[in-house]
Symmetry: C4
């Protein structure tokens, strides 16, 4: 894909995540630069719904912008840089404060796949506790490389992690996959909360989850086309 | 009705099911071809909200497209073909992952009619468990005729069935009736969940449900006109 | 007000009740004809959101249209006629299947005013049980004068009544007041359900409810102007 | 900022609070007049979504309009005047009946910060009980200076207070901060209710809350730009 195509997709991803209720005025999404895997693309510090191509900046693996030209970066860009450092397989990272996920993180409730659309959650995804790496008096933000590295360690090889009192990260092998996971983790959380109030939940087993995730990966263009159409209207 | 009229209604049904929150990027709706009851019409593998007349394909009772011309069919078209095979009275089938229904399927909670709009649910609709026919390691999808036939057996003579960890199917004697049932099954699930948290629920009895369903069938054009107007705006 | 002004307001009321989530494809709102209190105005049998001035018909106190000219009336017009017969103070009636209210009716949970906007609910409004007047095998509808009269008796002098397994009626001394009550009864139900899950609820006492209702009656034009603006956009 | 700029921002704030679901036909937002801190600006008695620049009036510290010219003020303007009198640090006040907050006030449930976006809530904000100052038979409204003063005392040095059976007030050192707090108090309430149903909640501790609030204050323009864009569309 051309760099222009990549940036256009990243702009769409920003708008989609807002439209689908995953981010509000806060949250961000990045993608590695295909031409140079030691670099990644991320907007300057503005609301995702308002991002345009000219707001996209390039960052190095230290989380610092290569050519800021007066544009202010997100305080939490180290979420992205440290996950890219730890996970060569990750091509895209979404960070959000997605509403249905917050209650899981702050009660320590395990998120688990309730249906085939969220098989990527696998066994329960990790919950990152900032107090372990940052102590009891942080401002909750991943505002430096050390905290970013701690978050990446907590994520481990998973596709998704909750962050206590803060939000979540979803990662993917493509931008579309990371966006898909961010959206359906939120959907899964809503359904799981509701189901836990109705009775004992029969989750997907590990094989069902893995198989369903593989199948869905093959049709991921389908919702992407819909999401893109909705933000272009 | 002309074939053009039938296809137009099927396109509207796709858009309506999205607008009313029954399908998202996934889910599908089909109708028998009136000219030839051994054939049915179903869109190619795209999001329902984006379906246009030229995306509608014709299928035989084996679930295979008659004239694909490069258009990719839905993996789960066997939901439709096998229900049509088993149920000559069924003219239309809706498959969805309707959000309020998932918690019922995965907790084994019986869906029951809470008001006159959902009398068609009758006594508790069946819950399809794919593990019984497909074993413990499927990808949850109805991806062949055998699984489709098992789902049709589970549905039996009912208007509606839940699918554990997946979604639901609604069937009807007309396209409009199947769409109506898919929409109001979702509404019923929302209301029933809420009611079960408030206290002991006084459901419609069997006679009330059957009588209400008959009355509503007589005025089904009323919501259809509204739903159509909303998607045309 | 001129008859044209009255009909315009009734059309607006239909659209407002849809926009604010009180009615869907079903439900209806009527108003007495100011020129002739033994007559009332109500749309023909179509979805409220689609009502235009030419759909409004005039009815007598027997619930029958005076000049149908081929237009089909609502099956449940007797809700309106029998309440007008029993309650000379009532100038407008709204009937809905408002979603947050259904769970109250079917669990026998008393609706009570949680805040000053819903003081009109007073002490717990009645719940109409159709089985008492119609037996165990109705289709749940108020489809004749006898059932309408039973509903009116159940309503008594109240501003609002729940109907088990069906919906609710709100009445008012003006069209705007009935619409206001239908909208805020629904809001109250949502808030009360949520509050009952959080803890023991401290409701408005009888004096607070009565005083708040009187105050709100004085500023009822304020939300009406907003609601009207929203449906005209 | 020019007086025109201030009024424009106040008009935007009115529209934003409606769009973001904090106010409906009722509720209001004011700001001190920077040129004269003993005066404040507040719309005449209309729905926030419909406020235009010419609807903004100026009030003195007695809560009375300086130049009404036939424009009717809100009955509850004393909420604003008495808080401004008691709190020289407060530059803006939002009063709402924000839906997720009502259940907290009427059950006496403490609102607490569940994530970094709502650190401004600090330790549990106060709940104002009008019966203490106004007795058991008010109409629930802050309709005079005495009740306004009682509310201001209940608020004390906090950023936010619940009002039992009525709503809430959010205050800020700028208009944007007060709007931010009104919006995220509502978000916090939704998340906290949901979390309390899932399990035992791990809230931000006092240091986390204070630090997060300070950080967020530095990026408050980000959501404001989004909210403004949304109401201008």
């Amino acid at each position: 894909m051309s760099i222009k195509g990549l940036i256009d997709d990243l702009v769409s991803a920003n708008h989609i995540l807002f439209k689908e209720g995953v981010v509000d005025g806060f949250g961000h999404v990045s993608t590695r630069d295909e031409r140079s895997p030691e670099r990644f693309l991320l907007a300057r510090s503005i609301a995702p719904a308002t991002v345009r191509a000219r707001d996209v900046m390039e960052f190095g693996m230290d989380g610092e912008p290569l050519s800021p030209r007066g544009r202010k970066p997100y305080l939490e860009r180290y979420i992205h840089s440290e996950i890219y450092r730890a996970r060569p397989d990750v091509i895209s990272v979404v960070h959000s404060h997605s509403p249905a996920l917050i209650p899981f993180g702050i009660t320590g409730t395990s998120l688990k796949p309730v249906f085939h659309m969220s098989g990527f959650l696998g066994a329960a995804p990790p919950i990152f506790e900032i107090r372990e790496a940052g102590g009891p008096a942080t401002d909750m933000l991943i505002r430096d490389r050390k905290l970013g590295a701690a978050l990446a360690r907590s994520l481990g090889p998973a596709s998704f992690a909750l962050m206590r009192g803060h939000g979540a990260v979803a990662v993917g092998g493509t931008l579309k996959q990371a966006v898909y996971r961010a959206i359906y983790a939120e959907v899964n959380a809503r359904l799981q909360s509701e189901a836990m109030r109705l009775g004992t939940v029969n989750y997907l087993n590990d094989q069902e989850a893995a198989n369903a995730a593989r199948t869905i990966d093959g049709v991921i263009e389908r919702p992407w086309e819909l999401w893109k159409k909705r933000v272009e209207e």
